[in-house]
């Protein structure tokens, strides 16, 4: 402690207390609602948590598709994470450690993808996934030839994953990180006669572990929380994801809603990404802060 300033410290405690209450209030009521019996009436601020949390969670957990949905969400989130990490590491390496013609063109081609989220181009993207050969056949058909190639990715994990890999966030963060890696390392590797790939695997990759961990967290959450895309691209019940599962418990029309079950499902759907963030936070923070320098 540098000096003793009780009033400033008290203000700090107050800010922290208010902040924590604001952060926890919404989820506290999610717990309150999730713990009510089916017969519960409308809530007010003072409604205490009920005794049915465990039962409602179990009901949500054993619901027809929930476990399958959790599995699908996990596969999708991990697939997006792994896919993006691999292609981004390679492309960031190429862009920072090489000088080649059209380098800046490639750079901007990747950068521009930050500016058009998947929601905006969702229908044309669906058509591509329904027939991945579509860009090719469309170009060839301009020449008057119909090659009739058709390869659909609907209802597959690739269809869920690949279009969401097509963005640049990870490439950017890796580029920022590579830029601050001391030049001496590369110099030394070149003196030793190491090939670029050798340098990449033996030096750059181990140094990037914290950045990779940080991006793992960001991408996992991004993937897990997708809603519109999985809804569009899956037609079979056993391919849907858990965020859709939550939306499913909400009524379409003037139907009965079991808010307690909705909230219990919500809690289950929130748990994996929250755990990932909380457990990996040390890496998350270090990875992101280091590359700021």
């Amino acid at each position: 402690m540098i000096e003793h300033t009780p009033r400033f410290d008290a203000a700090c405690w107050l800010i922290l207390a208010i902040g924590l209450v604001a952060i926890f209030l919404p989820v506290y009521y999610a717990f309150v609602i999730a713990s009510q019996p089916d017969s519960a009436q409308s809530l007010d601020l003072m409604t205490p948590p009920g005794a049915y949390l465990w039962e409602n969670l179990r009901a949500a957990w054993t619901k027809d598709d929930l476990q399958r949905q959790l599995l699908n969400s996990t596969v999708m989130a991990l697939g997006i994470t792994a896919g993006k990490l691999v292609i981004s590491l390679l492309s960031a390496f190429a862009i920072t450690y090489f000088r080649f013609r059209f380098r800046m063109v490639a750079f901007w081609a990747i950068f521009i993808t930050l500016m058009l989220p998947v929601e905006v181009r969702i229908v044309p993207t669906f058509e591509v996934v329904a027939n991945v050969a579509r860009p090719l056949t469309s170009i060839i058909s301009l020449a008057g030839i119909d090659i009739g190639l058709n390869f659909s990715m609907l209802d597959t994990y690739s269809g869920l994953i690949l279009p969401l890999i097509a963005s640049a966030t990870a490439t950017f963060l890796f580029r920022q990180f590579f830029l601050v890696v001391p030049d001496g390392l590369c110099e030394a590797a070149k003196v030793d006669g190491a090939s670029p790939m050798r340098f990449f695997f033996d030096i750059l990759l181990p140094m990037s572990i914290t950045s990779i961990a940080a991006l793992f967290v960001i991408l996992f959450i991004y993937g897990w929380n997708q809603y519109l895309w999985p809804l569009l691209v899956t037609t079979q019940a056993d391919m849907t994801t858990v965020v859709i599962g939550v939306a499913r418990t909400l009524p379409t029309d003037n139907a009965d809603t079991r808010w307690n079950l909705t909230m219990a499902t919500t809690l289950l759907a929130m748990a994996p990404p929250v755990l990932v963030v909380v457990l990996l936070q040390r890496w998350f923070v270090r990875g992101l802060v280091d590359q700021e320098k």
Binding site: L43, I87, R121, P196, M270, F284, E292
Partner: protein, 297 residues
């Protein structure tokens, strides 16, 4: 940022392209092709099945700029983005400074703050609705008991406050982590030296801590603005549906609504081009005018 290039590089013409190939292939098929089709749509009036496609030139754009409601949406979007970014960053900074001051590097505290970042925007919207819906939100009912006039269904300002709060709630946690980590990395000696010179905690904050956090702040500014522009339609959809009277009809929500719900693909595509242009300009301005003040120590 293009000014920051490596001085030492490898030789090779084929290898970099091989390394880029997977990324470019995925982007070409799943980004540029569909985005290109989307941009073409902006110049057509079509039925959703594309049986009829009428070339209309810039009509879709002209309809936008001649509509007072569209300009109002732009204004609403700027207010929303500014308010969300300022709230999320301001609160996160206050929390981080307070936590750094009295708790130092507590992992427990960080865990308590960080988790809302992991909550899906649509789910966050739902959680907030349970608190603030005038008819059944628990906090809204409590406010009414206290005689406070809270009606986001009819009062545009209340509605804006509500979506800013919900959007910022998710983002405060993310910002906090960065600020908190940034504060932890400021050398103690620097602070102590200032304290010996007689600078009080607030003065030290202004003169030493904030300048040292400028790089972090800049990064967060860019991320927060992009978040507010693009990732918030789920919150608006769940909480206000753009109402009342268009008071919370932000651009990305309109893109989503007109394209995905009304199947007016031409207008929606034109709107996404405008939205994209606005974000590119903003990002450029941020790099041009804000990054210059950043202290990359």
């Amino acid at each position: 940022m293009s000014g920051r290039d490596k001085k030492v590089v490898f030789k090779g013409r084929v290898l970099p392209w091989l390394l880029l190939a997977p990324q470019l292939a995925v982007l070409a098929v799943f980004f540029f092709w569909p985005a290109g089709e989307g941009i073409v749509q902006a110049f057509f009036l079509s039925d959703p099945f594309f049986n009829t496609m009428i070339f209309v030139g810039f009509d879709n754009f002209r309809d936008l700029v001649t509509s007072p409601e569209y300009w109002d949406s732009i204004r609403v979007t700027l207010v929303f983005s500014l308010a969300t970014t300022a709230t999320a960053m301001g609160l996160a900074l206050a929390l981080a400074v307070a936590a750094d001051r009295v708790l130092h590097g507590s992992m427990v505290l960080r865990s308590l703050v960080i988790w809302p970042y992991a909550v899906a925007p649509a789910i966050a919207g739902m959680l907030w609705l349970f608190l603030f819906h005038p008819a059944f939100g628990v906090l809204a009912l409590a406010l009414r008991e206290l005689g406070i006039d809270w009606d986001p269904l009819l009062d545009g300002t209340d509605a804006m406050v509500l979506i800013v709060a919900a959007a910022a709630w998710k983002q405060v946690s993310y910002n906090f982590v960065f600020f908190f980590a940034g504060l932890q990395m400021i050398p103690r000696s620097l602070i102590e030296a200032a304290a010996i010179d007689g600078a009080g905690p607030l003065r030290r904050l202004r003169d030493i801590v904030l300048p040292l956090l400028s790089a972090t702040s800049f990064f967060l500014l860019v991320m927060n603005v992009i978040y507010a522009f693009f990732d918030t339609f789920g919150i608006v959809d769940a909480v206000t549906e753009g109402g009342p009277g268009g008071a919370t009809r932000i651009l990305v929500y309109k893109v989503y609504k007109d394209g995905f719900q009304a199947q007016d693909y031409g207008s929606s595509a034109a709107q996404s081009i405008v939205l994209m242009a606005i974000v590119i300009v903003l990002t450029f301005l941020q790099f041009r005018y804000v990054e210059r003040r950043v202290n990359y120590a």
